[in-house]
Amino acid sequence: MLYREAGQFKTTYEADQAMFPIAQDRIGVLVILAIALVIPLAASDFVIASIMIPFLIFALATIGLNILTGYAGQLSLGTGAFMGVGAYACYKLTTIFPDVNIVILVLISGLFSAGIGIVFGLPSLRIKGLYLAVTTLAAQFFLEWCFIRIPWLYNYNNSGAIEVPERTGFGGFVLAGPASPPITRYYVVLGIVIVMTLLVKNIIRGRIGRTWMMIRDMDIAAELIGVRPLAAKLSAFAVSSYICGVAGAMLVFFWLGAAEPSAFAITLSFQILFMAILGGLGSLIGCFFGAAFIWVLPVLLRTGLPSIGIEIGAETVEHVSRMIVGALIIFFLIVEPHGLARLWQILKEKLRVWPFPYA
């Protein structure tokens, strides 16, 4: 009843190709944006700092991976390292240019990540599928090694970690550093994530996004239609790594505040990969679903279980949530290999014909 597009006629191709062609979707998006904007007024600092900020950052990283794996079909196990490149680049940039607004530096640091991504993407021209996973593993372990062995990257700190200095901007707001209030960081992260998601959506629905999907679905046919595999694959690597790099820089500067090389270990790569799978490969909304699920579920278990009378240690929660995530991944692959995004789509299709079972 509520979700029905009857009567919404398109008279131009522009209208038909709009980002949200259905009015209810437009309203829904506006409502979600409104909620995202007012959440800080209602929620505690804990919710903002430990749930909302990391959720948004992980969602962005998942979008980055999804471009490469979900849209361009190139499996990557090196997301964590590409995020690390962004974080270390941002750290060096803010050391060298302490007066430049940190948000600008975060956005620039993605470029370094994109460059490294292109270098490690080069083998994808000859190597496909699982074999490519080895390339990205090489990137993961090599870059991790660099983060440890090149002291210049962490300014020769004794701890070997990068620590975020205090940075202000936009007229005196403390954007990063220990003194930065979560609410400020939340709005910065929210802004970056929204803008980047919109830009990615634009890319995906245009020519470049189509060439990625062509390479994914049938690379030979794509080439016979005129797609240059080199340009298509490397552009996917570049855009994907750029986004992952920005997410990595945000991870350290707007959430953790300090990070050791192990923060960007292969476990991070897998975490992002799980978010992408569970949310749905080749779907942007799925990235948010996946990130919410994998990030928020353990937090809920941690805070929710004691409140219903089950007292368990933090470690046990960690183990149990890992088991649940693993089992859920298998469950989703069996019942719906296209992830939460597909379930969402099915729900919308059902709603369109409701109360009838089919139309």
Binding site: Y13, Q17, R207, T211, I225, P229
Partner: protein, 265 residues
């Protein structure tokens, strides 16, 4: 269906394949074959299974590179051309086993065929506004013309994976047409179709040839379809050319009859 005299004026050679030899390791898929395709004609390539027909198409659009021989397109000789270069020169094709982009809708598949017609760079694409959006709509208009032409309006927004086989073949033809090719290579466009679907597809092929003036090279097993549609026929067997000429001549050729029916030694 068509009298051979009808296109006699066209004459000009669009693509010439000269003494091509292609081998994989020790296996010779094509041996010393020459053939030409004239502007505006429908040229059929027939032969038993394993005769080298598909390999010939692969050579023409640059997917395989022959060890010996020359290929010239529009009079210009070419060497070791990449498939995407062949595409940009105006050669499009369909595939024996449907090679659609299964994760995309019909509309997106046909839009994919417009890739080479779209030029707005990355940064315009990012904002998807102004020139980039205009370009998208202009190409959409062209795609809609093709959708109308092939009568697939109803499945515009359907993911191609859900379509029945016959329609998938039609979408593939639409995608090739979206490239506005000079030379269209069709690899068994009617394989696995029932009679009605074959008749539809034959009609579309003739329409493409006559209304759009596209030159067509066609591989097909159904001899009656080949005889009705094509202007000239070349016959391959075991990688060699055994006959070349008007449909009636080829049909009467003793070598061809032996290749298809077998001969006792």
């Amino acid at each position: 269906m068509r009298a051979p005299e009808q296109e006699a004026g066209a004459g000009e050679t669009l693509l010439a394949v000269d003494n091509i030899t292609l081998s994989f390791g020790g296996v010779r898929a094509i041996r010393n074959v020459s053939l030409d395709i004239r502007k505006g004609e429908i040229r059929a390539i027939i032969g038993p299974n394993g005769a080298g027909k598909t390999s010939m198409l692969n050579v023409i659009n640059g997917f395989y590179h022959p060890q010996e021989g020359l290929i010239s397109f529009r009079g210009a000789e070419r060497r070791r051309m990449k498939p995407y270069e062949a595409a940009s020169q105006g050669i499009a094709r369909t595939f024996q086993n449907v090679a659609l982009f299964r994760g995309m809708t019909t509309l997106d598949n046909i839009m994919a065929g417009r890739t080479l017609k779209m030029h707005r760079n990355f940064f315009w694409q990012l904002v998807h506004w102004g020139p980039a959006a205009r370009e998208e709509v202009e190409n959409r208009r062209k795609v809609e013309e093709i959708i109308d032409f092939l009568e697939i309006q109803a499945i515009r927004k359907t993911p191609v994976g859900r379509l029945p086989y016959g329609l998938q073949k039609r979408v593939e033809l639409a995608r090739a047409l979206a490239m506005e090719p000079d030379l269209l290579l069709l690899d068994e466009p009617m394989a696995g179709m029932n009679l009605e679907e074959k008749e539809d597809m034959s009609r579309f092929i003739l329409d493409v040839n006559q209304q759009l003036g596209t030159t067509i090279a066609l591989i097909e097993h159904d001899i009656s379809v080949v005889m009705d549609l094509s202007d000239r026929v070349v016959v391959l067997d075991h990688g060699e050319k055994i006959a070349d000429g008007l449909p009636a001549e080829v049909q009467a050729n003793q070598n061809v009859i032996e290749a298809y029916l077998g001969v006792s030694h």
